[in-house]
Amino acid sequence: MSKNRKVNTLDSYATIRAVARTKPGSSPAPAEPGAESTAPPGSLGEELQKAGVRVARTAVPAKHQIVCYECGYRFQVHGRVKTTNCPKCRVLLDLADHIIDTEWMETVKTAGTIRLAPSGVLKSGDLIGADVIIEGIIEGGRARAWRVIELGAGAIFSEKAVSGIDLRIAAGAEFKFKQPAKYHDVEVLGTLHASLEATGLVTVRPGGLLGGDVCAEHLVVEDGGGLKANLQIGPKPVDAPEDEATAALSQSTK
């Protein structure tokens, strides 16, 4: 192994550290005398430009919101990674997205998205993901989303088999819930008839149709959206049931 260590990876953090280490006057490419400074006066960028350091724009990796499927802890990850450890419970988390397009009988846990394709049939096992898209059939097992559960056209399931914080009804989908449903945010692009209680925002997009009984704190109906329901919209002096939903999810995952 050579004494001189070569740095193969150059990320944004390394770039910032390199700029910070650079001494005034040591830069091989000094700033042109006639060039106008784009940095705000008094900022670090202007000081570096005065010192002759050429500062280029740094590409910062995108941040991703991750929800640990074991403990429910929410944190951020920079850049694209396939796995990471939960900072709270130290469990190795799978961040990949999965698509199930055949008969499936195993449990899938991921902090990414799980999509049960129209040809997919969940015979048994659980689908636990940050976002879960149901377009196929759930004959056994359950689907639980830590964020959004999306119900697409052609999905067949029992109401007890799906749960999530937020609900999205995809365009073209038609569902009629027999039991009362409780979610935080609800987005309707298709047709939904339910006794719905939402602690957050209910949005009816153009082409969407919401019916039944709706109790929510916030409602938005975009032009072209349909609303044929008994409504109770406004602030409620009740404790946020989101915590209950989160507690129910965490209990069911244990």
């Binding site: 047709t191 409602l219 938005v220 609303l227």
Partner: protein
């Protein structure tokens, strides 16, 4: 309907009316109205407006408080400051975040029947059922898969 267009009739915020208002043009209400409003044109219910009674209009922009039913031939637009306690009926509806609304809504621009949608049924749920119920579930399932 544009909110900024000048309406033909204006009930200003200092005015309080008890009775029925009939207007063949557009009207803006900023005051108090204890009675019905029949308007063949457009109606704007301002932020300071308080209406106790039913509204029958061509289209309505609601920013104030209404205790009564609102029926519009064309469109109802509820702004974030709107407080409606009653039923609404229109061809088209637009609701901003922040409204307070208790009542029934009858707005279906697409005209598709909502009661005929397929109920959610799974094969697992049908396991403990009779043959008749199973057959019904299968029918529902085949309908839903189409």
């Amino acid at each position: 309907m544009d909110n900024n267009t000048t309406p033909q009739s204006v009930i200003s915020s200092e005015v309080e009316i008890t009775g029925t208002i009939k207007s063949s043009g557009s009207i803006r209400v900023d005051g108090k109205l204890d009675g019905e409003l029949h308007c063949t044109g457009d109606a704007i219910v301002g932020k300071s407006a308080q209406i106790k009674g039913n509204l029958m209009v061509s289209s309505a922009i609601i920013e104030g408080a209404i205790q009564g039913n609102v029926t519009a031939k064309d469109r109802i637009e509820m702004k974030s400051t709107a407080r409606v306690n009653g039923d609404i009926r229109a061809k088209r509806l637009s609701v901003e975040d922040g409204v307070q609304f208790v009542g029934r809504s009858e707005v279906n621009p697409s005209g598709s029947p909502i009661s005929g949608t397929a109920p959610v049924v799974s094969a697992a749920a049908a396991e403990d059922k009779t043959d008749e119920e199973r057959a019904e579930a299968a029918t529902v399932r085949s309908f839903a898969r189409r």
